[in-house]
């Protein structure tokens, strides 16, 4: 049984704009899954199905093997936390801590637990010193972090992040990478995120879905996807710089083993040029 599974999921927006077409998506336990695709590929539309905000036109969405229904929607939303692409749409309380407290409060937790979770969530996104601020005095990146904290505080099993790195500064992106990895490693959470920043993917994902025009055109491990350069360019994406460089070196006859993350590439180059193991 998979945590999230979609079967031939099709969604048509009002005005017969096809958002998704026959999407088969699987999220197993404790996985880090990247959904990549150009603008308008249907990433946000897919994510909105994971917690029942959109209902399939045809096909089905199964959460822990069960379709989403009126009876289990609360459980589903407790289980799958979705952080929207636009943080402004998600923050509606007068202050940062009140907004983060919204989810846990509505789960019926007592005040002490709520306070604890709010502190913990704000600390995790590095916003603990801005708990009393009003949202309209925050920058875009800070709002994004508050939005993430608001979902984290509900302690979902599956965390879905729609374009989490868009609008973050380099340090913010680095923090987020560490944060996603620690959620997966420490808490065994399943993290699903979308992005079109391909250079980031190898650092935070085990498995990739490639979307284009509402369909999934490919899926596989980092190796499998990033070795298909033509596929990626045909859907308006790109191969990350490191594998691109290594491939080109290999074509010039230099024996470097393939690598995707910075650390892997570093040791591959050291091995190739200095002969170190």
């Amino acid at each position: 049984m998979h945590l999230i599974e979609t079967r031939d999921l099709t969604y048509v927006y009002p005005g017969s704009v096809t958002g998704l077409e026959k999407v088969n998506f699987i999220a197993p336990r404790n996985a880090r899954i990247a959904v990549i695709g150009a603008n308008g590929a249907g990433k946000s539309t897919l994510f909105k199905h994971f917690n029942g905000i959109l209902k399939p036109t045809s096909g089905s969405v199964l959460i822990r093997g069960e379709p989403i229904s009126k009876e289990n929607i609360r459980e589903v939303r407790k289980f799958v936390g979705v952080v929207f692409q636009n943080a402004d749409d998600q923050i509606f309380s007068p202050t940062v801590e009140q907004d983060v407290a919204f989810g846990p409060t509505n789960l019926g937790l007592d005040e002490e637990t709520v306070r604890h979770r709010v502190e913990e969530a704000l600390r995790m996104v590095g916003m603990e010193d801005r708990a009393g601020r009003v949202p309209h005095h925050l920058s875009g990146g800070e709002k994004k972090r508050v939005a993430i904290a608001g979902i984290i505080a509900m302690e979902p099993q599956v965390l879905v992040l729609d374009e989490p790195t868009a609008g973050l500064d380099p340090q913010g992106v680095a923090d987020l990478v560490g944060f996603i990895n620690s959620l997966s490693r420490k808490y065994g959470m399943t993290v699903i995120f979308s992005s079109h920043d391909v250079s980031l993917i190898p650092e935070i994902a085990d498995y990739i879905y490639v979307m284009n025009k509402g369909t999934i055109v490919a899926s596989g491990t980092i190796d499998e996807i990033f070795s298909q350069a033509e596929l990626l360019t045909s859907v308006r994406l790109d191969v990350p710089l490191l594998p691109k460089l290594i491939r080109s070196l290999r074509e010039h006859g230099i024996d470097v083993s393939m690598a995707y993350t910075f650390q892997e590439a570093e040791s591959a180059f050291l091995k190739a040029f200095k002969g170190e193991p």
């Binding site: 905000i53 929207f84 007068p94 846990p104 709520v114 608001g150």
Partner: protein, 260 residues
């Protein structure tokens, strides 16, 4: 983004003083001013509140004067009307305009002074509250006062969305100005009506997005008012108590006493 009163309230020097204390001071002063029959105590309240707001809460003096000028000038105008429209007492001065004679008497003068002073005292107390207490602090007090939950929740959402809407309006206005939207009268009318129409649609969309956002986080009819550690500072309580007693004493001792 423009600074509005609430932004000053977030930065004033009395930000960390207990909200209940600040409210007690402001509301108490307003009530004393309203019930006072002598212009003396509202006048004292008005001046002392001004001093507290500017000197202790460190609100910029120019801003404060500018703010106060609005209600006080209204009060002064209505004072002039009262001066010539009410009667009683000894006539002091008569003016004749277009054959109508307007008479100023001692009683009308006293009434005009009283009304103006009350307005002055009340407004500076109100500005004290609004410049030292951010609206977000009021919600927990509202809940303490056992106001209906629906009312408090609604105020919280309205508060947040006032700023969302202001933000949208400013962003849209900037976008229009950047592309010459307001160069000329006809264009201004066109751009402004478009702004209004789009703002309505945006507000509607935001409302729907709000519903989705609340649902996505299991909305169950609860909005949390996170309360920080609150403790009433005894020194503060004593000084607010003394101040209110002093003003009440003047009101009672000088009841009915007028300047003229």
């Amino acid at each position: 983004m423009e600074n509005i009163l609430d932004d000053y309230a977030h930065r004033n020097a009395l930000r960390d003083v207990d909200t209940r204390l600040k409210l007690a001071l402001g509301v108490g002063a307003i009530l004393i001013g309203i019930f006072s029959t002598t212009p003396l105590s509202p006048l004292i309240i008005g001046l002392s509140m001004g001093v507290i707001t500017v000197a202790i809460a460190r609100i910029p003096f120019r801003l404060y004067i500018g703010l106060l000028a609005i209600p006080v000038s209204f009060a002064a105008m209505s004072g002039i009307v009262i001066l010539f429209m009410t009667g009683g007492g000894d006539p002091l001065w008569t003016v004749t305009i277009f054959g109508f004679s307007f008479i100023m008497t001692t009683e009308s003068l006293n009434l005009a002074v009283l009304v103006t002073c009350r307005t002055f005292g009340g407004m500076s107390s109100l500005f004290f509250i609004s410049l030292t207490t951010p609206a977000v602090e009021l919600f927990s007090v509202m809940r303490d006062l056992r106001l209906p939950k629906e009312f408090v929740d609604l105020s919280m959402l309205i508060y947040r969305y006032i700023f969302v809407l202001i933000g949208e309006a400013i962003a849209m206005h900037n976008a229009q100005v950047m592309r010459n939207g307001y160069s000329g009268f006809r264009r201004s009318i066109y751009a402004f009506s478009m702004l209004g129409a789009m703002l309505f649609i945006k507000a509607w969309e935001k409302g729907e997005a709000l519903l989705v956002a609340m649902d996505a986080r299991c909305y169950d009819g609860k909005l949390e008012v996170m309360e920080g550690e609150r403790h009433l500072d005894p020194k503060g309580v004593v000084s607010v108590g003394c101040y209110l007693c002093f003003c009440s004493a003047i009101t009672i001792l000088c009841a009915g006493k007028n300047f003229f």
